[in-house]
């Protein structure tokens, strides 16, 4: 199990080491693939942060769904709930959000954005409720069920934009644009950075406060650290904690879909998400499952994805390399965590060897 103790995971030091390892491995891989790693990294960083517009209109905009889904994963993983379904929950939220944006004529203009975002959060939670119930009622592990629900959500979204939600001319596989009143306002004039960014940052800080100062937040951490001990304490109901965190995680991921529709695309189409729900796992792990740090790691991955296009255009390196790099980040975090832990074990008076060495 990934221990969720922030001190030992060493939020900053460990993450920096993991990034260093990632950079070296990715550099070697790029070099082996016949590319110049330095050119690649420079094209990526310049493309993502080289201008005011690149930073605010591309990278930070890209970071919004990553922060929100990253929070969803961090919340679930903290409670020991393996929600790998943020991708599907995001799509469920996007479908519900766009539906409100299309059919919200009766809603007063000021209430349209809250209604859209609320619907997307509820839809994400509803989507998460299926694996939640299967886990709590039938004892079926959530890893497989959340993964399967992702594929269902993606296929149903495709059906919706080819069928009931297709734009009025029935030519393109996408919806009509949502009502202008449903658009999220721009928060940095002259860029595309929308209010979803501020919302994501506020939710991250709110989740941080939730873990730190509320009874339920404490219960979530306790259940994640050891469900047996939490149950034995007699003070908390592990099943209720799982229920609350699973649905909350789904709501955050669903909100990511609604925010993307209301802030960026203003319509729904197939392939809305290039796998944000999976990248979110890297975002959350690199942050040591700390909500505050998710803001930073979300922006980091936003820069990576934002720069991927420039890397492809200016250095001729396929942008799919960035998804390979995301996998390297997760593996590096795991490796650094394990190596630090074995060092800590030694320092605590072990015999100096890693205990596994007994096995051959």
């Amino acid at each position: 199990m990934l221990r969720l103790d922030a001190r030992r995971l060493g939020a900053l030091g460990g993450s920096a080491a993991a990034l260093g390892v990632t950079a070296v491995v990715a550099g070697v891989a790029l070099w082996a693939g016949g590319y110049d790693p330095w050119t690649a990294f420079r094209a990526l960083v310049v493309g993502a942060t080289g201008s005011f517009d690149a930073l605010f209109s591309i990278s930070l905009v890209r970071s919004v769904p990553l922060i929100l889904t990253g929070l969803a994963v961090a919340l679930a993983f903290r409670a020991g709930v393996w929600n790998i379904g943020a991708e599907g929950q995001l799509y469920a939220g996007a479908v519900a959000g766009v539906w409100v944006g299309l059919h919200g004529a009766g809603v007063p203009a000021w209430a349209l954005v809250p209604a859209l975002l609320g619907a997307s959060a509820v839809a994400g939670a509803v989507w998460a409720s299926v694996p939640t119930l299967m886990k709590l009622r039938l004892g079926i592990g959530e890893v497989i069920t959340t993964l399967l629900m992702n594929f269902v959500a993606i296929d149903l979204t495709a059906w919706a934009v080819h069928g009931p939600l297709q734009e009025s001319r029935h030519v393109f596989p996408q919806t009509d644009p949502i009502a202008p009143a449903a658009h999220l306002p721009i928060i940095v004039p002259g860029t595309r950075l929308h209010a979803g960014f501020a919302l994501a940052v506020m939710l991250a800080l709110g989740l941080w406060a939730f873990f730190r100062w509320t009874r339920l937040g404490f219960a979530v951490r306790a259940v994640g650290a050891s469900p047996e001990a939490a149950a034995l304490s007699g003070r908390m109901d592990a099943r209720r904690v799982v229920l609350a965190t699973f649905l909350g995680s789904g709501a955050l991921a669903g909100l990511a879909g609604g925010v993307e529709v209301a802030g960026v695309t203003w319509a729904l189409y197939e392939g809305l998400s290039p796998g944000w729900g999976y990248t979110a796992i890297a975002v959350a792990l690199l942050a040591g499952l700390e909500p505050g740090a998710v803001i930073l790691t979300g922006i980091f991955f936003g820069v990576l994805e934002g720069g991927a296009g420039a890397m492809q255009r200016n250095a001729g390196i396929p942008s799919v390399w960035v998804s390979a790099m995301e996998a390297l980040v997760i593996l590096s975090v795991l490796a650094v965590d394990r190596i630090r832990r074995s060092g800590a074990w030694r320092a605590e008076g072990g015999t100096g060897g890693i205990p596994e060495a007994a096995d051959g």
């Binding site: 199990m1 990934l2 891989a29 693939g33 016949g34 393996w82 790998i84 299926v130 299967m134 039938l138 004892g139 079926i140 890893v143 497989i144 069920t145 993964l147 399967l148 629900m149 992702n150 594929f151 269902v152 296929d155 149903l156 495709a158 059906w159 080819h162 069928g163 796998g275 999976y278 796992i281 890297a282 792990l285 492809q312 396929p318 799919v320 390399w321 960035v322 998804s323 390979a324 790099m325 995301e326 996998a327 390297l328 997760i330 593996l331 795991l334 490796a335 965590d337 394990r338 190596i339 205990p355 596994e356 007994a358 096995d359 051959g360």
Partner: protein, 308 residues
Amino acid sequence: MADVGALPSFLEASVRLGTPLALAALGETITERSGVINIGLEGSMIAGALGGALGALWLGSAGFGVLVGAGGGVLVAAVFALFSIGLGADQIITGTAVTLGGLGFTGAIYQARFGATGTALTLPTLPALPVPVLDRIPVVGGALFDQAPTVYLAYVLAPALWFFLFRTASGLELRAVGEEPSAARAAGVRVRRTRLWATLFGGALGGVAGAHLALAHAGTFAENMSAGRGFIAIAVVVLGRWDPVWVLLAALFFGAASALQFLLQTLGLSVPYQLFLAFPYLVTLAALAGWVGRSRAPAALGLPWPAE
């Protein structure tokens, strides 16, 4: 009547679509029996598909392609084993990372070789090899016994792996490692070595399953062509209750769920194509909900060893 004519082709499609699930799920059955859950199976499948495609292209034979595909699957499983068994990292997170890495790196390699535009790649395909006599059985003969050799591999492996698991000493050791690793260790079984071999075996079959996708189904490679089949295969293991024979039957059942669209199309029913794509996943979820209550996973599944 249309349904009489449609039935053999429906069965044929069920077997063809069920085979990659069966191969991957049979490998994962062995892996999970040793106490390791490898979500990276999807990564092994896509690596097997690319390996199969490149191998068939370079060596000019689909048969060699399958071997290269198995090698690709083993490579991905080795990365998973290094982290989850070697370092004792969490199996779910490692498996997710390995799947993402498999999809990313195969995409990168494919684009580097064949360009980002995705020029259609035409590969030598695995020919159907009819089994004498059996392929003459009315209705089902052609569907079951006039197929690619990888299909027969699944037929043979299911009883062979059942015999290995439940009738040999090594199989008993493997199951002991998955149920009570500490007791197995005390009895002299090398827990991590057993898990390593079980994981690499699962990766090899995942690779063969991917190669089957590229060489028996499509005759080409496409990015993401495994399309979540590795995850369905893991669900199939649960439905087959970690018993290879039942796992094969469960995989063929899901092949049938996927093939249903062809049957209904020939029957003239028009149901939107995207709903058919969702159907196998929904059936899997429903089957999990309906059946799983009566099965039990290996006791040490997903737990690192030695425990901390």
